[in-house]
């Protein structure tokens, strides 16, 4: 592009959004004259002014409508098989509710793990997937027996299974040692057996031995906590690991992981690991995913507004009576949502004043609502 035209376009940078400037740079062909370029940009500014929101527009309500109305058209099916080789993910309305509730524990936590360039061949991806998958002790066990006479638990390791995770009995014994403090762990005479016995040799330890047998099932011997399943797939020519179960903090700390692309679908985890701004864009992204999967069309502005109100306090808050609604300044607005009696009593105790600045309060007392045409008022001198 000719420099002078580009400079003409750039000179409008303060009047137009970066997106439109970029779009203009793309669309305006080289052949235009300076005059034409100015004309185009002026028309663009004019249409931008025309498209600007009017002050007083109740954008919140419009967004709520835009998301709430198509909600009726979404499917309720919790699970969804998108193609043959994909993970089970919560989709549709249940997922949307999950996002807007900002649930602490979600039904299907999931990560998309990308590896750094040059390290993301199919072979490497597969190996990495295996490496991070959480493996529990039972997967490498052949047998567990309780020796009542000697008060011991004897574990027999399947060496082939263990080798899959490049472990041997010795190493497993080592892991067990750190995990089971009250037991002494001894690798038995036969190499694949490990013997566990109580350190403090009180009698009547049978119950303890039984407990330890149960506990053994939950001991992690390999991989990353919470990563229950891994599935390497190809996406747009790149290899990605989908995991069920999420552990963003640890995965991002790994050297081979491309931390720019790797994400989780657990909003709280993102907030904790990456901060509130990341949580905001996660809310937007996750919502867009749900909506697009349903074949619906909702403008991103509406979703951004919801995400913004969820994150405006600096903390991720759900759209529930414990989250966003609780932060409202008006007593009556809170009372009109849920648990009105509770709200009125707490308000009475601190002598709270409702200044009637928002919508429902004014509806309640039959006054114009301070939105749209209810907003401006005239002051005249009366004679």
């Amino acid at each position: 592009m000719k420099k002078e035209i580009e400079s003409i376009i750039q000179s409008y940078a303060d009047k137009l959004s970066p997106f439109l400037i970029e779009k203009a740079t793309q669309e305006i062909p080289d052949s235009v004259t300076k005059k034409q370029a100015t004309q185009i940009m002026d028309t663009l500014v004019a249409s931008a002014v025309v498209a600007t929101v009017s002050p007083g527009e109740c954008v919140g309500l419009v967004s709520a409508e835009s998301i709430g109305e198509p909600g009726t058209q979404m499917t309720l099916n919790t699970f969804h098989f998108a193609g043959v080789a994909e993970m089970n993910v919560t989709v549709g309305l249940p997922r949307l509710i999950e996002i807007f509730d900002a649930r602490k524990t979600i039904k299907t936590p999931m990560m998309e793990v990308y590896l750094k360039e040059g390290k993301s061949s199919l072979e490497q991806i597969k190996q990495f997937a295996k490496f991070i998958k959480e493996t529990l002790l039972p997967e490498v066990l052949k047998d567990v027996t309780i020796d009542i006479l000697d008060q011991k638990v004897i574990i027999e390791i399947d060496p082939n299974a263990a080798a899959d995770y490049s472990l041997d009995t010795k190493e497993i014994a080592k892991i067990l040692k750190t995990k089971l403090k009250t037991f002494s762990v001894v690798q038995g005479e036969e190499t694949d057996k490990i013997e566990l016995s109580m350190k403090s040799s009180k009698s009547e330890n049978l119950k303890e031995l039984h407990n330890i047998k149960v506990k053994l099932k939950k001991i992690k011997i390999h991989g990353m906590k919470g990563v229950k399943q891994v599935l390497p797939v190809e996406r747009n020519g790149e290899y990605v690991i989908l995991t069920s179960g999420s552990n963003l903090k640890e995965i991002l700390a790994m050297d081979d992981v491309d931390s720019m692309k790797t994400t989780s679908n657990d909003l709280y985890e993102i907030e904790a690991v990456l901060g509130i701004e990341a949580a905001r864009s996660a809310v937007i992204e996750e919502t867009v995913k749900v909506i697009e999967a349903q074949g619906l069309n909702i403008d991103i502005r509406h979703i951004m507004l919801v995400a913004d109100i969820m994150c405006a306090s600096g903390q991720l808050k759900g759209i529930t009576r414990f989250g966003v609604v609780k932060d409202k300044s008006s007593v009556l607005a809170r009372a009109s949502f849920e648990t009105p009696v509770k709200h009125i009593f707490t308000a009475a105790m601190s002598g709270e004043i409702d200044r009637l600045q928002s919508v429902v309060e004014n509806v309640m007392i039959n006054q114009p609502v301070p939105l749209g045409t209810g907003l401006p008022s005239l002051i005249t001198k009366m004679k």
């Binding site: 600007t52 954008v59 499917t75 309305l93 509406h302 507004l305 966003v324």
Partner: protein, 858 residues
């Protein structure tokens, strides 16, 4: 109508707790007897229906303000409680106070020197989070110091406070009577209250223990007279009667010096009644009941929930001048109009003030009276008195009518009315229409506005509201008229569009019809086009040329039609492409959106009306109908379809065979069984698509196909299901599962995993399903029904939460988005400040602007 000038406005409302002093001061009467009426049925003085508390009988006069029924608002009274009782709603707070303050000096159990240190942080917590959080913090701080068991101020020993639910307190093991509680709370100094987030002016803690009980006015708890002449009192009156009765008994017993046990018992009973008066759903208490066993509805329940005062009466309003009836379609009225039955138009009225210029005009209405349309029903005198127009008052009324009077005249064509269909899910669910008075008993609307209302004509009813003031009317007309709502704020696309036959007609017209000049003129004239200068003067006219006659001559548009062909409109001439749903329908394509932005709302609405009429007129002349024969396959095609189905089935059997031989490789992360199911589902799902495709190729053009192709109704899949194969029935994304008995139906062998045993329907709807197939079809049908039934309330609740949370967000004059308290949520709405309904699908079409400026190079 009286001149309405709002001279006063409620500025703010403060919530606080009434002190006993205030209760007494605002009381009109002291209630001393549980009796309600004397023998003549007149309210007893000092009873709960005392006429000083307001009146609910016609004929009686309120003794406090001298007003009659409906004019008097009623007045509060009070009862003096013989012994204090705990207010159930404050139990938690009392508990907090007892835990955190000294039992003898009343100071908070934090050393003086540390109080200052904490007070700021506490204040902050109270403001940032909630008063509850603040109090929780106080509790935590106090437990830190409490280990010593002594008050840091007066060094007296502190016992452990226990709450025995619902309302009994113990210090160590000694019961604290409400009298003691009150004395304790009285000792807490004002300045310590602030630590608890309480405003000492608004509330003193001792007020949380009741010594007097406020009696609500009679008007708030009206009794109803049954047909038998018997009176049935309100639940609140019943409950208050219990309180007064027990209270009097307690007084008498105390005065007579009765034994402590009796007094204690009565006191407990009084506490129970006072508690259930406030809240009849306290967990540990049996709810108070009517004699019949029905639970009393007391104060808390009156306020709570959807049917409670707040959501039912305060946040929801009811109106006069509204109407409701069944809707039916009328493609001949404008998009902006609504057909109103004449009968309704004679009941719905519009007030018009007589001035010197319209006096004669309005007098005509009055003279015709209420029974002749268009007449008038009432007049309103300047003093606000309303008079019905009837034969015998007619002369008198016409005599006195002068300027300043208001005439309530019948609804006329062109009046503005709001039209609404529930559920009102978005703002297009309530739009303003211009009234068109029509014969018949249903509302008529243009089929093109069905989509925003989500209406159809299978018995739907809709509501009509007639705005009564000039401000309301003009606001409705300017902001809410259908043509102003054409573009959805949800995605920036058109929400209205031609439907059904209107699309089919235009599709056929632009696709295949060749018309003679007279035919074309006839067609265009029938849909309201009288200016035929756009129509080429030729013997034979292409359908596209006829359609182009509607378009403005300077309109240029490029888009795509449903089958992906390019649509080119250059200077008002449709050069290529078909007019189908992708261009004329709602929420698709930019044709209507571009018309709207170039030529404005009124033009687009008018043009859309003409296009729709054109489509219908085409079908009217060409003829269009569907029959069972449209689903017939030619013998050759039928053979091919059969072949295709058998192929797919064979593939499925091959997979099964492989599985049974143990040769099926498992997919990553799946078991072999899961893999099998997935592969089978994939193959069988493909079977329908494939045989559908085969069938489509062979079928000659018929009505069903035209409708599917144009997007007017139905799709290719529907046709395939009807004429070729119904296909695999899937339940929750998998084939019909075996039940508890290892088979889907007893008709099959156990463990049968063949396609037919798992919901693969080989027949078409036309050839008819066999019993097993029918059953599988019913299963998926039921599942779909359940899904909708469960989804509606869930999404409704989500919507309610969203709208409640976001209703106060608005764009300020500085273009920031803020909530009611002024907190900024976004610095610029949507990061670019664009109103979605003013954009083209969410953005500005830069390409179009560039092309417009540098000129077309096609």
């Amino acid at each position: 109508m009286r001149p309405q000038f709002i001279s006063k406005k409620v500025g703010s409302i403060q919530f606080r707790v009434l002190s006993p002093k205030m209760i007494k001061a605002m009381a009109a009467a002291k209630i001393v007897t549980p009796e309600l009426y004397d023998r003549e049925g007149y309210p007893v003085d000092g009873g709960l229906m005392d006429t000083r508390l307001g009146v609910i009988d016609p004929g009686l006069v309120c003794r406090t303000d001298g007003l009659r029924l409906k004019d008097t608002l009623g007045h509060f009274g009070y009862i003096e409680l013989a012994r204090p009782t705990v207010h159930i709603k404050f139990v938690r707070q009392v508990y907090d106070f007892l835990k955190c303050t000294c039992n003898s000096c009343g100071r908070v159990l934090i050393p003086q020197k540390d109080i200052k240190r904490y007070s700021d942080t506490l204040q902050e917590i109270g403001e940032d989070q909630s008063v509850q959080a603040q109090r929780r913090q106080v509790r935590e701080i106090v437990t830190k110091y409490k280990g010593k068991g002594k008050c840091p101020h007066c060094a007296s020993k502190q016992g452990k406070i226990k709450l025995e639910k619902p309302y009994t307190f113990h210090e160590e093991d000694r019961k604290l009577s409400p009298i003691e509680l009150r004395a304790w709370l009285e000792r807490i100094p004002d300045e310590d209250l602030e630590l608890f987030g309480m405003n000492a002016v608004a509330i003193r803690p001792e007020w949380m223990i009741l010594t007097v009980l406020q009696i609500p006015p009679v008007t708030m708890r009206p009794s109803i007279t049954l047909e038998s002449g018997e009176r049935s009192e309100d639940d609140l009156t019943h409950k208050l009667g219990d309180v007064v009765r027990i209270n009097q008994r307690l007084f008498e017993n105390i005065n007579a010096g009765a034994p402590e046990i009796i007094i204690e018992d009565l006191w407990d009973l009084l506490q129970y009644h006072v508690t259930t008066y406030f809240d009849n759903t306290v967990a540990q208490l049996p709810p108070a009941r009517h004699r019949g066993g029905q639970v009393l509805k007391t104060l808390t329940k009156r306020i709570k929930s959807k049917e409670g005062r707040i959501r039912h009466n305060l946040a929801g309003k009811r109106t006069d001048f509204s109407a409701r009836t069944v809707i039916s379609p009328d493609p001949l009225i404008s998009l902006n109009e609504v057909g109103v039955p004449k009968k309704m138009a004679m009941h719905l009225t519009i007030p018009e003030r007589i001035t010197e210029w319209n006096k004669a005009y309005l007098l005509e209405f009055v003279n015709r009276g209420p029974k002749v349309y268009p007449g008038a029903n009432y007049i309103i005198r300047p003093d606000g008195k309303r008079k019905a127009i009837a034969d015998f008052t007619m002369d008198e009324i016409t005599e006195e009518l002068t300027e300043g009077y208001i005439v309530e005249r019948h609804l006329l064509d062109g009046d503005i009315a709001l039209f609404n269909r529930q559920p009102s899910l978005h703002r297009m669910s309530m739009m303003a229409h211009k009234v068109r008075v029509l014969p018949g008993k249903t509302f008529r609307l243009n089929p093109s506005v069905c989509h925003p209302y989500n209406a159809d004509f299978d018995g739907d009813e809709m509501n009509l509201h007639v705005p009564q003031t000039e401000e309301a009317r003009s606001e409705a007309e300017v902001l809410m008229l259908v043509q102003t709502q054409l573009i959805s704020p949800r995605d920036g696309l058109s929400v209205v569009g031609s439907i059904h036959d209107a699309i089919t007609g235009n599709y056929l017209l632009t696709k295949e019809l060749i018309l003679s000049y007279p035919e074309s003129v006839d067609l265009l004239y029938s849909c309201g086009v009288s200016d035929l200068s756009n129509l080429a003067k030729k013997e034979k006219l292409d359908g596209k040329e006829v359609f182009s006659a509607l378009l403005p001559t300077d309109f240029t548009f490029f888009g795509k039609d449903k089958s992906g062909n390019e649509v080119k409109i250059i200077n008002g001439k449709l050069k290529s492409g078909l007019m189908d749903k992708a261009n004329l329908g709602e929420e698709s394509g930019l044709l209507l959106r571009n018309l709207y932005s170039q030529y404005g709302a009124a033009f687009t609405a008018d043009l859309l009306g003409k296009i729709s009429k054109l489509g219908i007129a085409v079908l009217l002349r060409r003829g269009f109908s569907i029959g069972i024969g449209d689903l017939d396959l030619m013998p050759k095609t039928a053979e091919l379809v059969k072949q295709s189905i058998n192929d797919s089935e064979q593939k499925a059997f091959d997979i099964i065979e492989k599985y049974e031989a143990g040769k099926l490789p498992a997919l990553a992360g799946r078991t072999v069984q899961e893999t099998l199911e997935l592969r089978l589902l994939e193959v069988l799902n493909k079977a329908r698509n494939k045989s559908g495709e085969v069938a489509m190729k062979q079928i000659k053009e018929n009505a069903a196909l035209v409708m599917a192709r144009s997007g007017a109704r139905g799709n290719i899949l529907n046709i395939a299901q009807m004429s070729a194969i119904t296909g695999q029935q899937a339940l929750r994304g998998r084939r019909i599962d075996k039940g508890f008995t290892d088979r889907t139906l007893s008709y099959f062998k156990k463990h049968d995993i063949s396609p037919a045993a798992r919901g693969f329907i080989k027949n078409s709807f036309k050839s008819g399903l066999d019993p097993a197939e029918f059953f599988f079809g019913a299963m998926t049908g039921r599942d779909a029904l359940m899904d909708t039934a469960l989804r509606t309330p869930k999404s409704g609740y989500l919507y309610r939460r969203l709208s409640n949370a976001m209703q106060d967000l608005k764009v300020e004059y500085d273009h920031t988005v803020r909530d009611a308290s002024g907190r900024i949520v976004q610095f610029k709405y949507g990061e670019d400040g664009f109103d979605v309904s003013k954009t083209k699908a969410g953005s500005i079409d830069v390409k179009e602007i560039v092309q417009a400026v540098i000129g077309e190079k096609q």
